[in-house]
């Protein structure tokens, strides 16, 4: 990888501590603007690691990646259009089940994912014990335990980001099947889509799934392609 700048998209649920992680990473080197054409705030910042410049883009906090809200569309479009080198998903470890819903969708999008397993202290105080290795291996993406509020785990996160960006740490696509009948329909649609010009930027399978979800934005895009 020859380019010196690594682009990192920071995703996660609202209240997952994403903003704290962003601040830990970028410190004073951040600026606020707007996402193009809308009044949603966009935060970008920089930091350095191993002589590489890392550009961190803070995506809006979302619970999933549907087309129901502007925030989700912004987050989703950024991952697809800008193709960041790494997507960091900040997950609230004390609310794992709910937070993983977004994680699973990011993996479906074939994002180069690093999971920032934040609020480990809160999880522990609730009596939860999380097998981070198992989580990583089952999801096919590296997970970094963190307590962003005390700036713990930030260095490890940067290392992992670097590892994924440079190819040192592999991220594999998970094998999520939706059941026999749904899969049959997906296969049908996939075949039709592979001819479509959109298939270049998006994975055909992902498009097929979105179509079955009646995703307004994708339907619109397919209509326009």
């Amino acid at each position: 990888m020859s380019k010196k700048e690594i682009t990192v998209a920071l995703a996660g649920n609202p209240n997952s501590g994403k903003t704290t992680v962003f601040n830990n990473l970028t410190g004073a080197r951040q600026h606020v603007g707007n996402w193009p054409g809308v009044t949603v705030e966009k935060k970008e910042g920089f930091c350095n690691f191993q002589k590489h410049r890392i550009r961190v883009v803070d995506l809006p906090g979302v619970y999933s990646l549907t087309a129901y809200s502007l925030d989700e569309i912004i987050a989703r479009d950024f991952v697809v259009d800008e193709k960041p080198d790494v997507v960091v998903d900040i997950v609230d470890a004390s609310n794992l089940e709910r937070n993983l819903y977004l994680t699973v969708q990011l993996l479906e999008m074939r994002a180069n994912l690093v999971i920032g397993l934040n609020m480990m202290d809160v999880a522990e105080s609730r009596g939860h014990r999380i097998d981070v290795k198992a989580l990583s291996s089952l999801l096919g993406a590296p997970a970094v335990p963190m307590v962003a509020a005390s700036n713990r785990g930030t260095a490890e996160l940067l290392e992992t980001i670097y590892g994924v960006a440079t190819g040192g740490i592999p991220v594999s696509a998970i094998n999520l099947r939706y059941g026999h009948d749904v899969e049959a329909e997906i296969t049908k649609l996939e075949k039709l889509i592979s001819g479509n010009s959109l298939a270049g930027s998006y994975s055909p399978r992902w498009l097929a799934v979105k179509l079955l979800e009646d995703d307004r934005e994708i339907i619109k895009k397919i209509g326009q392609a």
Binding site: V104, H128, L176, Y178, V182, V209, L212, I219
Partner: protein, 437 residues
């Protein structure tokens, strides 16, 4: 490559899946994701299998208990009133003394009509309401505490669960509770109820949830006639209101066309310790809103009443109506006039008495005047309070009922049934009570 082809096949697929599974593909896909996550959690979350019971859960085991939940609710409600009246009593008497002193000054003012307007009209009428600023603020402190701790949502939940067991489905109690503040707000909030049948019944029954404006009446009469048991008496008014509201709702349900009824799930936020600042802030906000509204209403009403009284108009009207209430013990013209003005605004009841009855003895404060000048006994006072609790709601409420139900019919029905209910209840209480006391 044809895009319309893709979309067409998509629609076919959706149709097919809907037939086979009875659900949207979106739901099936979401379910699959959650299923995957759920399975993953089993391998990832080492312990515990079940979420640890939080402090909130422990407390809720009592508060939401199927048998103890309602008694707990009643006990807390009772405690609120006890606290309010016991603590406010000394403050109220100070204020009364201050008002008497002011009234004394006013009698010295030169044109006789001005002196009368000031001492009987303004100071008497407005003063009667102002004399329980302490009651209002204390009550709102208690309510704010209940709210901020998170108890209020439990109260609504417990009451709705009770109503469901009686066959009253839907989410009425949450909106009915607003009636404790103001019936108008409660009726407006019924818009959140989808089911038209639930909604209508809720609206009709809202006036029985004793609104804030009735509190002055209870407070003053309870202080005068039931000094030691003030809290209990006022509590009983609210309790009677709630019981009758549930009863009437059940009755109305039987007569209306049956339809689908709603079940719901409610999120109960975790308990938390309220901060002094938020409690005081809420108290101030609500208390001030209440008093400024009451004050303005009373001021206007008082001047009006005073003028009409100066010309003896009211006495004539009062004497014409009064006989209807003699069976209930309050067949005096002043009482009748008070009730009439109560239809304009419940706050006016106290203001009316304050203006029409002369002088305010310092010792017992205002309520005692009613006893001596009108010849009321505690039983009469209780019957009167019940009348106030149940009879025709204020015109603001009536007009919002007409607006929200979209017809005059229900508004008129409300007038009729509340009047009947109030009269019957007050008369029964007085008649039956007279046999024993």
């Amino acid at each position: 490559m044809d895009n319309t082809e893709v979309l067409r096949v998509k629609d076919e697929s959706l149709e097919h899946l809907r037939k086979v599974h009875g659900d949207d593909a979106e739901t099936l896909i979401a379910d699959a994701r959650y299923g995957f996550i759920s399975g993953l959690m089993k391998d990832v979350l080492v312990k515990p299998a079940v979420e640890k019971e939080t402090v909130t859960d422990k407390i809720d085991r009592l508060i939401l208990n199927r048998w103890l939940g309602i008694p707990v609710f009643l006990a807390i409600l009772y405690g609120v009133f006890e606290f309010t009246f016991v603590v406010s009593a000394p403050l109220v008497s100070w204020i009364n003394m201050g008002l008497d002193w002011l009234a004394g000054l006013a009698t010295g003012v030169s044109p006789a009509w001005l002196s009368s307007l000031l001492s009987e009209g303004i100071i008497g009428g407005v003063g009667a309401v102002l004399s329980f600023i302490p009651v209002i603020f204390l009550l709102y402190i208690a309510l704010s505490i209940l709210e901020d701790t998170g108890y209020l949502s439990r109260a609504a939940f417990v009451m709705d669960r009770l109503m469901h067991r009686i066959g009253l489905h839907g989410r009425s109690f949450v909106t009915l509770m607003l009636g404790f503040g103001c019936s108008v707000a409660a009726v407006m909030s019924s818009r959140t109820i989808d089911n038209p049948r639930d909604r209508l019944v809720t609206i009709l029954v809202t006036p029985l949830m004793s609104c804030g404006a009735k509190l002055p009446v209870y407070a003053l009469l309870a202080a005068a006639f039931f000094t030691a048991y003030q809290g209990l008496v006022v509590f009983s008014m609210y309790a009677i209101g709630v019981i009758l509201a549930i009863l009437m709702a059940w009755l109305f349900r039987k007569r209306l066309v049956p339809g689908e009824s709603g079940h719901f799930v409610m999120e109960l936020p975790p308990y938390r310790l309220p901060t002094v600042i938020t409690v005081l802030a809420h108290m101030w906000e609500r208390g001030w809103a209440f008093l400024s509204r009451a004050g303005t209403l009373i001021f206007g009403a008082v001047v009006l009443i005073w003028m009409l009284n100066y010309f003896d108009v009211l006495e004539h009207i009062g004497r014409a109506i009064a006989p209807v209430f003699s069976a209930a013990g309050f067949g005096q013209w002043e009482s009748a006039v008070a009730l009439v003005f109560g239809v304009l605004a419940k706050e006016a009841v106290v203001g009316t008495f304050g203006t029409l009855l002369t002088g305010t003895e310092a010792a017992g404060g205002f309520g005692h005047v009613i006893g001596t000048q009108l010849g009321w006994t505690p039983l009469v006072a209780f019957a009167f309070m019940t009348m106030i609790l149940l009879y025709v709601p204020c015109v603001a409420t009536l007009s919002i009922i007409k607006k929200e139900t979209g017809s005059w019919k229900w508004m008129l029905f409300t007038i009729a049934y509340t009047l009947a209910l109030g009269w019957v209840a007050a008369t029964l209480i007085y008649q039956i009570g007279s046999l024993f006391l």
